[in-house]
Structures are given as C-alpha cells and as structure tokens.
C-alpha cells in the first residue's frame, strides 16, 4: 500500500507542478482556464482510446495496436453520417443536424463494436497460442484499416463544416469565452470513467473481468467461459474508441493521422498508468492530456513547434526509464 501512496503523491505533485507552470505563464485566470479545459478535453479523448487498450491488455495480454485506427474510423464514420455526400447521405432523411449527430454517434459505436467483434472472433482468437503474432497481427490490421479509410474517403483530411447546437455554443467565465462542446466531451468522458468503474466494481461481469485480469486461466478453471468475456471486452474497447473518434470529429475533423497520434498517446497513457490498471489509465489520460495542453501553450511563439506532438512520447520514455511498471502497475 505504501507504494500506492507514493504514486498518488507523485501524481499530485506532477499535476500541481504542471498547473502552476501553466498558471504562471498564462498570467490571467481566463487563459489558464482555457489551457485546463483543453487539457481535460484531450485527456478525456485519450481515455476513450486508452481504456480499451488497457483493459484488453490486462485481461487478454493483447496489445491492440489497431485501437488508434478505431478512433480514426469513428471520426470518419461520424463525419460521413453527419455531412451530405459520402457513403451514406442522411441530410434528406434526417434534416435536423442535432438529431443527425446523435444518429452519427450511435452508428459509429455500432460500426466500431461490429468490427471489434469480427477482429477478436475471426482473427485474434486463432492466435492465442502465438502471442508475438497477435501483436504483429493487430499492427497489420491497423495498416489495413488505414488503407481502407484512404480508399473510401481519400487521403484529404475533412474538417467538420456542419453546425449544430452544442458545437457552436460558448459560455463566458473570467472574461474568456469557453467552448461548450469541449465541456460536453469532458462530461461524456467523466460519465464513461464512472460508468466503466461501476461496471468493473459492481456487476458480475465486472468481477469476472477483474478476476480475469489477475489470472484468466484460473477463471476458466472455475467454469466460466472466459473466451466470451474476451470477445465482450474487446468489442466494448473498440466501440468506446470509435465513440471517441465520433465525439472528437466535430472539433478535430477526420484525418488519417488521427490513428497513429492517438495510438501513441494512448500507449503513453497506458504505460504511465500501468498496463492493465483501470485507475491508472484514468489518471494517466488526464495527466497526458494536461501536459499536452500545457506544452501547446508553452510552444506558442517559440521555435519549439514540435513540442506538443513529442510530449506524450517524451513522457512515455521518461516513465519507462524511471518506473517501467507505471504509476499503478505491479512490477513484473
């Protein structure tokens, strides 16, 4: 338990240092607030990708390198459903853009879940005896998904043009305009953090998942069909990553670079928090999100334009050098 307390202290110290640095730099409460909200926004998006990555790794020992591609696919599907033209055109059937956005999110989640289930059932399941090839396979799947997206939607990035209610709203605080949409995404992220925590801690399936993270063979020996749980968790992870892409798209647009960017950031989060640890992933997402926002703020007006994109990788390298098992991970 002592190590856990040091971890919590370390996290608090890093967070306070980050915020203090940002506060001193920004000078005003309004600018500081914008940096914090931006950090929370990015952190929540990261959580949506990283949670699946972490739980799947803990349970199945599979690092799904296609997780970032599900995020990217989610962004493209949501964009396609919302906007006129493209693969499906719903502007005539559903003229209300707000309703169409809800529809877009639902369609995206379903597509992500279906593809995730196919990936686990059809491909990964055959390879549990050869774990190295599982890693290689998910890498291959990420390439195929990237090429598929390029083939369907071309390589030109899309920027979100359709306007709808919550995306356009602003609220004012400390003489600064804040985007309500960012707050909305942060809210969705918080809901999911709590929801998944409840699922893991309060339900029977959650107990099985947690037991499986500890020792899946033992769970199987107790007469529980772990394979079904594997499929379920993998599907859920992919669906959540796709959901992340869908809610990110109105802000970030849809582009092929999303896949590798979010995969690497999510990996940084998962390693930072400790592979397979749920609370570690939640805390790690916020830390990486905030540090990216602070780096973005710090890079303005300097020649260090690459700083924000390198920050997660620097964090990852640093954590692996100092504490490879992560903040909440057990040493193995």
């Amino acid at each position: 338990m002592a190590s856990k307390r040091t971890s919590v202290l370390a996290i608090a110290a890093i967070l306070i240092a980050l915020l203090a640095f940002s506060f001193i730099r920004s000078g005003s409460l309004g600018n500081f607030g914008i940096t914090v909200l931006s950090g929370l926004f990015q952190g929540m998006l990261l959580f949506l990708v990283a949670s699946g990555l972490s739980i799947v790794f803990g349970l199945m020992d599979v690092l799904n390198l296609a997780q970032g591609s599900f995020f990217m696919l989610g962004a493209y599907v949501a964009y396609d459903v919302q906007h006129p033209g493209g693969v499906v055109d719903l502007t005539a059937a559903v003229p209300d853009p707000n309703l169409r956005f809800v529809l877009a999110v639902i369609v995206t989640v379903l597509v992500g879940a279906a593809l995730g289930a196919v990936l686990e059932r059809g491909l990964l399941r055959r390879l549990y005896i050869r774990p190295v090839f599982q890693l290689v396979l998910t890498f291959g799947v990420s390439l195929v998904m990237l090429e598929l997206v390029k083939a369907i939607w071309t390589t030109t990035p899309f920027s979100w043009t359709e306007t709808f209610g919550v995306r356009e709203n602003f609220f004012t605080l400390f003489d600064q305009r804040f985007s309500t949409y960012r707050l909305f995404v942060v809210g969705i992220g918080l809901l999911l953090i709590v929801g998944i925590a409840l699922l893991l801690n309060r339900t029977r399936i959650g107990i099985i998942i947690r037991a499986g993270v500890e020792d899946s063979e033992m769970v199987q020996a107790l007469g529980i069909n772990v394979r079904v749980v594997f499929t379920l968790v993998f599907t859920l992870g992919c669906a959540i990553a796709a959901l992340g892409g869908a809610v990110a798209a109105p802000f970030l647009g849809a582009s092929t670079t999303l896949a590798s960017t979010f995969l690497l950031q999510a990996i940084a989060v998962v390693v930072l928090g400790g592979l397979g640890s749920y609370e570690g992933t939640a805390v790690g997402s916020l830390m990486v999100g905030l540090s990216i926002a602070v780096a973005q703020d710090a890079a303005i007006g300097t020649s260090l334009s690459m700083l924000p994109s390198i920050t997660p990788m620097l964090l990852l390298v640093l954590v692996l050098l100092i504490r490879p098992s992560g903040l909440f991970g057990e040493a193995r």
Binding site: F57, L63, L65, L123, R126, L127, R130, V132, F133, L135, V136, L137, F139, G140, V141, L143, V144, E147, L148, K150, A151, S260, L264, I267, A268, V271, L275, S303, S305, M306, S309, I310, M313, L314, L316, V317, L320, L321, P324, R332
Partner: protein, 367 residues
C-alpha cells in the same frame, strides 16, 4: 554433406546471375551497363542502368529485412521502430557528408563509421531500458522513439525540416549518378556480406542461444544464459545492419529526409520478413525481392474490368495488408516455411511406402 553442397551450389549460381545481371540486361536490351557518356560525364540512361537501380533497392530492402529477421525471426524480439535505425543511419551519413565541411572521402568514411556505431549504441540503450521487461514494452518503446525522431526531424530547421536535404557531392567512384555499376556491386557485396554474416551468427553457439530465447526465454535463463546480454547483442547487430541499409539508400538517392524515419521503413521489413518466412535465411530476401518487384510493376498500372477501372497502385497497400493478415493467420512460416512443409509432406509418405511407383499413394485427408 551433399545436401549442403547442393544448397550452396544454388546460392553460388544465384550470385553468378546477380553479378552478370547488368551485362545480361544490357545484352538483352542492347543498352550499355555503364550509361551513356556525354562529354566527360556519364548520363544514366537505358534499361540496364534502370534495372540496376531496381535491384539496388531490392538489396537495400533485403538487408533491412534480414536485420529485422535477425531480431524478430531468430531472437523473438518484436520491434515496431526499425525505421529508427534505418533513418538515423541515413541522417548521420547525410549530416557528415553535407554539414562537416570535410573532404568527401573522409566525410564518407567518418559518416559510415559514426552511423554504425551510434545506431548500435542507440539499439543497446533502447534494449537496455526495455528488454528486461516483457516483450511488449520493447515493441512500444521502439514505436514511440521512432515516431519521436520522425516528428523531430520533420520539424528540425537545421536539416531543412520535412523537405530534407540533398547530398551535393560524393566520391566519383561511388556516385550512383556517375558510376552506377560500381555502386551496384558495392550494394551487392554488402547484401551478400549481410546474408553470410547473419547465417554465420545464427549457426554459431550464440545463434543457438538466440533461438533458445525465441523458443522459451525462461528455460534459456534456467540453463544459465544471461538472456538479456544475448538479446542486447541481437538488437545491436540488427540496428547496425539496418543503419548500413539506410546509408545505402542515402547514397542511391543522394537525399536525406524524414521519410527515411517514417513508418513505412518499419512496415516494409516486417511484411517482407513475415511473408517471406520468419526465422529462415532466405525468407526476408525472397520477401524483399517479391514485394519490391511487384511494387515496381504495379506502380503505373491499372486493371480495367468493363467500365470499372482499378488503379492497382492505390489498392496495392490494401492488398498487401490483406495478404499479410492471411499469411499471419494461415501460413505463419511464410513462403519458405510453407514450401518446406509441403516438400516434407510430399516426401515422407513416399519414403514410408518405399519407392513411389510401387503402389498408388493414398489420398491425403483434407486438413
């Protein structure tokens, strides 16, 4: 004994073909293997010269794939950042040639040595940090470090950011724009040297430990081997060989840019190794040759089915990814391994049943 001789005989035959290749193409297409002289300079034009460039690219990719195979196929360590060593080797050589202001010959020697040493140390460092942990950490770490260097050099003003910089001067004897035939033989020599080196290493006692680590690391450790040290040796050698491939690429194109650090130089050797045959000597070479030649053939071709035209160049990566997944799932030993198993299957029932003509062979049950 005779089997070994036969196999080496095949290799020697292949080598003779590759040595004679520029002249063979030159003779077949009636073009000069050294290009066309114009004044005191040579112009690289003609089929022979063009095909030399294609084969040089094959050698480069094969060297890269062989180094990947040493790590992945023989030691069982997965790297997702092999482009890091390829690209760093090329950047170090490029920087030495362009930014030190030394005499080109000296800069070339220095750059090659520095590139090999630095990449070896980089591999050693990355391995030292992550190889004590579970295999997945090494994969993650290489992926992250490669991406970090890619982003860094893509925005680094000194090396002209994403445009990269060109190499203005090379020693005349090596310059592929002047003496491509010489460069062809240099690349061929390095390719053969890499092949022999890796075969020598893997067949040595050290290589036996590599394979033991791949099969079961705990058991290798229990036998008293310091597996970390052997894995470090493997990653260091792989990094150095990949750096050599990167340098050849720089010399061939006379240009350095962040694309050399990009993910495609990680993906290519991975695909080539897996499709060709993981953990075999010929696999990566066959994979590199096959995939690169297909790439060259498909680059400007399109298939028309009725009114529907498919541009193969754009579909090719997708197709390749699909092939890769099928190979991983169904033929995990790649072309070489599958072929070997076929031959074994075809042979063993015949041996058991005496001469194959003695009686009709029973039909094999479908698997």
């Amino acid at each position: 004994m005779s089997k070994a001789l036969r196999q080496n005989g095949l290799l020697l035959l292949l080598l003779a073909f590759l040595i004679g290749f520029p002249f063979l193409v030159g003779w077949l297409t009636d073009s000069s293997p050294v290009g066309i002289p114009r004044g005191d300079r040579m112009v690289m034009r003609g089929e022979s010269v063009r095909w030399q460039a294609v084969l040089i690219e094959v050698y480069i990719l094969a060297i890269l794939a062989m180094s990947y195979n040493l790590l992945f196929g023989f030691t069982g360590v997965v790297s997702f950042g092999h482009a890091l060593f390829f690209g760093m080797g090329s950047y170090i050589l490029g920087l030495s040639l362009e930014y030190t202001g030394l005499d080109t010959g000296l800069a070339l020697t220095l750059g090659v040595l520095a590139g090999i040493v630095i990449c070896g140390l980089l591999g050693l460092l990355i391995g030292f940090v992550t190889l004590r942990l579970r295999g997945v950490y090494f994969a993650i770490f290489t992926l992250a470090v490669a991406e970090m260097f890619f982003i860094f050099f893509g925005r680094f003003q000194l090396t002209r950011a994403e445009d990269g910089f060109a190499i203005s001067e090379l020693p005349l004897w090596l310059d592929p724009a002047q003496n491509r035939l010489t460069f062809y033989y240099v690349a061929l020599a390095l390719f053969v040297a890499t092949f022999l080196f890796i075969r020598r290493v893997v067949k040595s006692p050290t290589g036996a430990v590599f394979e033991a680590i791949r099969e079961n690391e705990d058991r290798a450790q229990a036998l008293g081997y310091n597996t970390l040290r052997f894995k470090l040796l493997s990653i260091m050698m792989a990094a150095m060989i990949a750096a050599v491939a990167g340098m050849l690429q720089v010399l061939l194109n006379k240009k350095v840019g962040p694309e050399l650090l990009g993910v495609s130089y990680t993906v290519d050797p991975l695909l080539m190794t897996v499709i060709g045959g993981v953990g075999t000597f010929a696999g990566p070479v066959i994979g590199a040759t096959g995939l690169h030649l297909l790439d060259v053939f498909f680059r400007n071709s399109a298939i028309s089915i009725g009114s529907f035209t498919i541009d193969i160049a754009t579909v090719w990566p997708l197709l390749l990814g699909g092939i890769f997944i099928v190979v991983v799932l169904i033929f995990p030993q790649g072309v070489v391994g599958t072929w070997r198993r076929w031959r074994q299957k075809a042979r063993s029932p015949a041996q058991r049943a005496g001469p194959p003509t003695a009686r009709p062979r029973p039909k094999e049950a479908p698997e």
